[in-house]
């Protein structure tokens, strides 16, 4: 029997040089994390309870107090004001929360419905052809999202875009649809501008889940697939009775990861529409960015960040639970 190499953690006492090594590496790390992570984190929490603007001098400690008064839970109470005469920042916050939820609710199922069959299709072709297809669908992941936004902006362009040109060819007349800028365009009650951004987002984001699913498919033991084949399963039965159940843990995990990253969408929206038309694509992070850095109302923006953080945190905790219940086979 081959000797198993010991790779575990040594339990014996550390000698002086090891203790020095740990001291001179861990101490700077703790100080660094305290300064660059913990401190801004606490500061961010505090800001949410102040009416803070960096334009005003404020108190002596971090500019809090004085002209930047403590307002307690006022920001959070304002968020719950759903009356039509609520202040503009509250109404736009509600709008952007709705837009973000809609965005996530559309992106996640669409993403999974495309990537899962696509991964199965790519895995079904000859081994030599797989990297080619995978590369094509993965390429947008490697590109900067700003570049993606500009490419898609050109595709959607009312006069110069390819999309309207193709529609014009099909319909036999000039089509001038303003995909990203017409607030009156809706499809099943969903603003078309939002859908347009979603398609660009899906195109860029597909590659992540695709490669995760391809890896998961390769991890399904051949014995199980062979057994099903010998029992006479057709390709559809193979997919629904063997592949899908085996992939279930991966699907749950990717769904949550996709959800978390869709909640934080910013780049594409900011470049393609900047939240327009009429706030129809103003997602939460764009709302935060606008209030913090364009209007300098950082107290409000910090409060909204905190709410967004709580939403994402609950999703992350869900993810951690799924991670723990890894299937055995």
């Amino acid at each position: 029997m081959p000797l198993r190499r010991y790779t575990g953690i040594r339990k014996r006492r550390l000698d002086a040089s090891q203790r020095a090594f740990l001291r001179y590496t861990l101490l700077p790390m703790v100080l660094y994390m305290g300064f660059w992570t913990l401190f801004p984190l606490l500061w961010g929490f505090a800001l949410a309870f102040f009416e803070y603007s960096p334009r005003r001098a404020g108190g002596t400690f971090l500019g809090l107090g004085g002209e930047n008064p403590f307002v307690g839970l006022a920001h959070f109470r304002a968020m719950l004001d759903f009356s039509p005469d609520a202040p503009l920042h509250v109404r736009t916050f509600h709008l952007s929360f709705k837009v973000t939820l809609l965005f996530v609710a559309l992106v996640v199922p669409m993403n999974l419905l495309i990537t899962l069959p696509l991964a199965v299709l790519i895995e079904s072709v000859h081994r030599r052809m797989r990297p080619l297809f995978r590369t094509i669908f993965f390429l947008p992941v490697l590109a900067p999202s700003v570049g993606v936004a500009i490419m898609w902006g050109y595709l959607y362009h009312p006069q110069r875009g390819l999309l309207n040109a193709i529609l014009g060819k099909i319909l036999g007349r000039t089509v001038v649809i303003n995909w990203l800028g017409d607030p009156k365009l809706t499809f099943w009650g969903i603003p078309v501008a939002l859908l347009a951004v979603i398609f660009a987002y899906l195109w860029q984001d597909l590659g992540y889940n695709l490669v995760i699913f391809i890896a998961a498919l390769q991890n399904i033991p051949d014995a199980i697939k062979d057994a099903a084949r010998i029992d006479g399963a057709n390709p559809f039965q193979m997919f629904f009775r063997v592949t899908l159940p085996m992939l279930m843990p991966t699907i749950q995990l990717t769904a949550i990861l996709t959800m978390i990253s869709a909640f934080q969408v910013f780049d594409l929206v900011q470049v393609m529409t900047d939240g327009g038309p009429k706030y129809q694509t103003q997602v939460l992070l764009l709302h935060i960015y606008n209030y913090a850095f364009r209007f300098q109302r950082m107290g409000w923006a910090a409060a909204v960040s905190l709410v967004m953080f709580l939403v994402i945190l609950s999703l992350s905790l869900l993810q951690a639970r799924f991670l723990r219940t890894r299937w055995e086979y």
Binding site: T7, W36, A143, S145, I150, A165, D267, Q270, A301
Partner: protein, 286 residues
């Protein structure tokens, strides 16, 4: 026998290479390339042609004029922006790889007081989305005078909790005999990390290094906040700035987009194997 093989290989060819999957895959992958193709074709059209209604698909006359205009624009010194992007991305790759591998190794191979608390703390930081520290982070940099300074994007980015986690997993598989042998030979602890452990981590270094490079190179929001002066901006920010300034001169915007997006995209394409590995191992996203 030979005849038989011939027939068999045809059968294999039919079974292995002609699949119904191609009927869906080939059109779909062509469709997926359209945004790239449309951008590239636009970059080669003349200003007059790009304004044409309805637009042409292939340029009637290929012109390199757009690239010349973009590259000689005195307001758009692309090389400077490439340099800025490269400094930030490379510096962050180097420091993140160093800290991740060092602390990953320490958490995997040493037992010390507070270890559990410290590791739990780092993992908790992993769950905190960056927008929570975005506003105070900006205020901190402003007080330190690091706004419009490339250091503002480098100094706060030295530790990546995800990297520590990943390298810890990786370091678990390094046999202790290696380190013990070096200790017997009189190497000090840092030498052991640097000479023995680090070379063992090459696959993890490549994977996580490329992921870090990609995320930094493509980053948008944080550089947008920290770098407001033209001379310190990075490529993604300069691309949106140029596109807004050029407005309807789409041929120039597309030429700039090609120059900004394609060179690094092609390089990343050749090393995507590592990036794919990193994503499938960790589920990490930008």
């Amino acid at each position: 026998m030979t005849v038989h093989t011939q027939r068999l290989s045809w059968k294999i060819f039919w079974r292995e290479w002609i699949r119904p999957a191609y009927v869906i895959l080939i059109p779909l992958s062509l469709l997926a390339l359209v945004p790239f193709v449309w951008m590239i074709l636009g970059a080669f059209k003349t200003g007059a042609e790009i304004r044409q209604i309805p637009p042409t698909f292939f340029p009637k006359q290929f012109t390199l004029e757009n690239f010349r205009t973009v590259l000689t624009d005195p307001d758009l010194p692309l090389l400077l922006f490439y340099r800025n992007s490269a400094i930030i991305a490379l510096a962050n790759v180097v420091q993140v790889l160093f800290t991740s591998s060092l602390f990953g190794y320490i958490f995997a191979k040493f037992e010390f007081r507070w270890k559990g608390v410290l590791f739990w703390f780092i993992m908790a930081l992993m769950m905190i989305p960056s927008q929570l520290t975005m506003i105070p982070g900006y205020l901190m940099l402003a007080r330190l005078g690091l706004i419009n300074n490339l250091l503002g994007l480098i100094l706060p980015a030295a530790i990546d909790p995800f990297g520590i986690f990943l390298f810890r997993q990786f370091a678990h598989s390094i046999p202790n005999d290696l380190m013990d042998a070096a200790r017997v030979d009189g190497a000090n602890e840092f030498q052991i990390y640097w000479r023995i452990v680090l070379p063992q981590m090459k696959p993890a270094l490549a994977t996580f290094g490329l992921l870090t490079f990609m995320f930094n190179w493509n980053a948008y929001l944080w550089p947008l906040i920290v770098l407001t002066e033209q001379r310190v901006r990075t490529l993604p920010i300069i691309l949106t700035w140029y596109s807004t300034r050029m407005g309807n001169k789409l041929h120039l915007t597309m030429a700039a987009a090609v120059l900004v997006v394609l060179p690094v995209l092609l390089v990343l394409m050749f090393v995507q194997r590592w990036i794919v590995k990193g994503i499938t191992m960790s589920g990490l996203r930008s």
